[in-house]
Symmetry: C2
Subunit: 484 residues, 2 copies
């Protein structure tokens, strides 16, 4: 589907001439092995894991070094065309899509893990390293990198940092930005800065590291990342807890957090919606529990980690908290050993859902935890009222839910759009935020003013200008279209 979620004012680029300018500028620096200009090679770069479709890029640079990335930025400046940095292309909001064409800078070739330092508990990596490769390399050294977004087998560390990616384990360990000590940033115009540090603490100057984290490729291209590592947890224990009523599950989530029971993950599946029941519940609970979860409105998938004794103790207290809200604990105990399968199902939930409909849009709003039940109830009602199919699941412990809208007929799209707008309005009215971990990208940009004031947006635009005066770096992202 060619997404045009809202009318968007696209500058009428003289596509041919800017494309050839870009190609000529790049050809000065790159041979054919690293420079792709054939439309057949560039076509797949129009899209990422969102359903956003950009323009055909004039060229794709397959960078193999930080120097390549710098040259691509220089060429973009010389040609006066947009440059869009791209990692694994797993983003959900269109952040890596060349909305206005130009140059796509594919950073997957910058895939060196330059250093893993046990004593300092840090690693220095290039941005194109795939998350699961990094986690494996770190594991070999007896260390642990906590962030675990579901796209881990394809997403890159640079992309994770650019979106400040989350994942289930963010509940205990924090989102990606919490694990970034410093980074090298390439700025449009050829400046290269190192923000941050290699030390555990540091407050010298403004915290540009945090400003660059989550900036969705609009402020700089990352050259190198210094990431914090941790000692691995000794053991982990996973619980699957079904609830007859959603309200019980939502309250149990609040209780577990309020009582300080310290789970590392606390995931919720709303099994009321047809999509949840049909597509996800059987896969999640497995054949042996198929009958047992009849009538279940909600499932909690909970993990604790730490010493074996601490895990047992926490799990026991979490089970008591769930029982106090009406969970039937006999469904809890036997499942710990099925951990791998449970988390595989959880990681593949988005893809599984994707197969159940022709079109799918995933939102990732976050609300104060106490509002989870209210949000899910109102979502259920608005989905029925607007006759759209929605399935919600996600990181309930953080109040961060993935609300998926699914449809098969183009004619349904306007109803889905109406539902999305209502969802965002509802989220903001509950004290929540448009995005817990995916970012704003293209898809949520029109809705930014629902949450942020004009002054706040204007201030962010002016910061963008400090980094990127010509506005050629990943244009059309984050900021509402046509607003400045």
């Amino acid at each position: 589907m060619a997404m045009a979620m809202t009318p968007r004012s696209q500058p009428a680029l003289a596509a041919d001439s800017s494309a050839s300018r870009a190609q000529r500028a790049l050809a000065r620096y790159f041979g054919p092995s690293r420079l792709k200009v054939d439309p057949r090679d560039c076509e797949s770069y129009r899209r990422d894991a969102s359903e956003v479709e950009g323009l055909l890029p004039a060229a794709v640079v397959l960078a193999e070094s930080v120097g390549d990335a710098e040259l691509a930025l220089r060429a973009a400046a010389e040609a006066g065309v947009p440059l869009v940095p791209r990692g694994g292309g797993t983003g959900k909001t269109g952040g890596a899509v060349p909305l206005l064409g130009g140059i796509v800078l594919d950073l997957r070739g910058l895939s060196r893990i330059k250093e893993i330092d046990r004593r300092e508990q840090l690693a220095v990596v290039q941005p194109g390293v795939v998350l699961s490769d990094f986690r494996a390399a770190v594991h070999v050294e007896g260390l642990f990198y906590a962030p675990d977004p579901s796209s881990r087998v394809a997403c890159t560390l640079g992309g994770n940092v650019a979106t400040n990616a989350g994942g289930p384990r963010a509940l205990k360990y924090g989102v990606t930005g919490r694990h970034v000590l410093g980074l090298e940033a390439l700025l449009p115009g050829g400046r290269r800065i190192f923000a941050g540090r290699r030390t555990a603490k540091g407050v010298t100057g403004y915290d540009l590291t945090s400003l660059l984290v989550g900036s969705e490729g609009t402020l700089a291209v990352f050259g190198e990342l210094t990431l914090r590592l941790l000692p691995p947890p000794e053991s982990t224990l996973t619980l699957l807890v079904p609830f007859q009523r959603m309200a019980q599950a939502a309250e149990a989530v609040g209780d577990i957090i309020e009582q300080g029971l310290g789970p590392s993950c606390l995931e919720l599946l709303d099994a009321r919606a047809s999509g949840g029941r049909a597509a996800l519940l059987p896969a999640l609970v497995g054949p042996e529990l198929g009958a047992a979860v009849q009538g279940t409105e909600a499932l909690l998938l909970i993990e604790v980690d730490g010493s074996e004794a601490a895990c047992e103790a926490s799990a026991g207290r979490i089970r008591s908290a769930c029982r106090a809200r009406g969970a039937q604990d006999d469904r809890v105990a036997s499942l710990a050993e099925q951990r791998e399968r449970l988390w595989d199902v959880r990681a593949n939930m988005s893809a599984s859902l994707r197969r159940t409909a022709k079109y799918k849009l995933s939102e990732d709003i976050a609300v104060p935890r106490r509002q989870l039940g209210s949000l899910l109830d109102q979502l259920e009602r608005l989905s029925q009222r607007l006759a759209v199919r929605s399935v919600a699941y996600g990181h309930a412990g953080d109040g961060n839910l993935h609300v998926n809208f699914l449809w098969d007929d183009e004619a349904e799209a306007p109803r889905v759009q109406a539902a999305i707008r209502e969802l965002f309005q509802l989220t903001v009215s509950l004290g929540g935020t448009l995005s817990g971990e995916h970012g704003i990208g293209v898809l949520k940009a029109p809705y930014l003013p629902l949450e942020q004031s004009a002054d706040l947006i204007e201030l962010q635009r002016s910061l963008k200008q400090s980094f990127d005066p010509t506005g050629l770096l990943n244009p059309g992202k984050i900021f509402p279209p046509g607003s400045g």
Copy 2:
């Protein structure tokens, strides 16, 4: 001592006329209860806990509401004079000093704790709340606010956020910024923005919250802070471990971190220096151990928290790690119950040292942990070579040390200056940073280029301009004097 650490180009303000302009502008908004213009009332505002002395301010505004703070900003803009926000005045680098005079905005009257929410585990506070008052109020609600800088009985939450304050417990819980979910910021020129959120996660737009944290009052005045709270640890256990050799203690610090033994605090005192031995060691170990620590070069003060069983287990493993590096464990066991006294001594270390000399300067560099021993050895050597008295102690688990220089005679000041410059050069050469938690303020501003590139400093200046186009907000801080 009137500090002028390096020649500084002070714009020759027409002091009288700008002072009267400021007073006239303020008098439009404030009566005498909140506006102080008598030099006797303003005199004490020339200083903070650093040894920096600013100009006599034209006026001091005792703000009692966010509206007062906004009006003071407006008056400063109207009069075209600097405005310096101020909390408890406990900063160590001169961040709250009116270097160029103008208006001091005293925010201690904004001392309301507006909300403590157990379910969401957050609080909403005004910036003038004193840290220890806040910790007490949070404790009553069965919650825990982790940051614990030593100045806790006087420092304000706004000041903590402005400096991204640390403290011993930052090792486990992170510095202040890690606990800031969102904040209201008053910008020069009258804009009021809300950055951040009330939710556990959120990536909507750029992370302005983190940019404002640690910005030392140069980007905005804080109106309201939304802070993350935690469940309190069930119990804590404190160990005091003496080492015959500094090298042993430094290696033990590295081992404890590398082995993932998870202390909440890991403090080190270098007892080699005369200051350390004479002023601090007896107080720290108490009379009962006076003889036992003869010949001790270093002390580690270690705390673990968590369940009682977890504390016992961690403490046991930490003691083993210390023993493996040569600590005599029999000095460890009996001290757990003396926790209060130990931490009181630790919190008062700076003040105790202060009394031992006429002049004192405290630096707070941070280095990669593996460099701790090397840094301390080289500090010891350079202190002897330059004949200056130095005492080092601090948050060794984070590689963050407080290096105190002490002297009695003005004539020694140039030697101290030489020692400070060498210390910073050494720190940077070891991969460290000028400030682990105090900030740059006035005292370290001349040294910023030792650590940061001209491009990086220039970029930060341009961000400052986005927030504060006229440059009237807390001028003379962070950026090297005379450089732009």
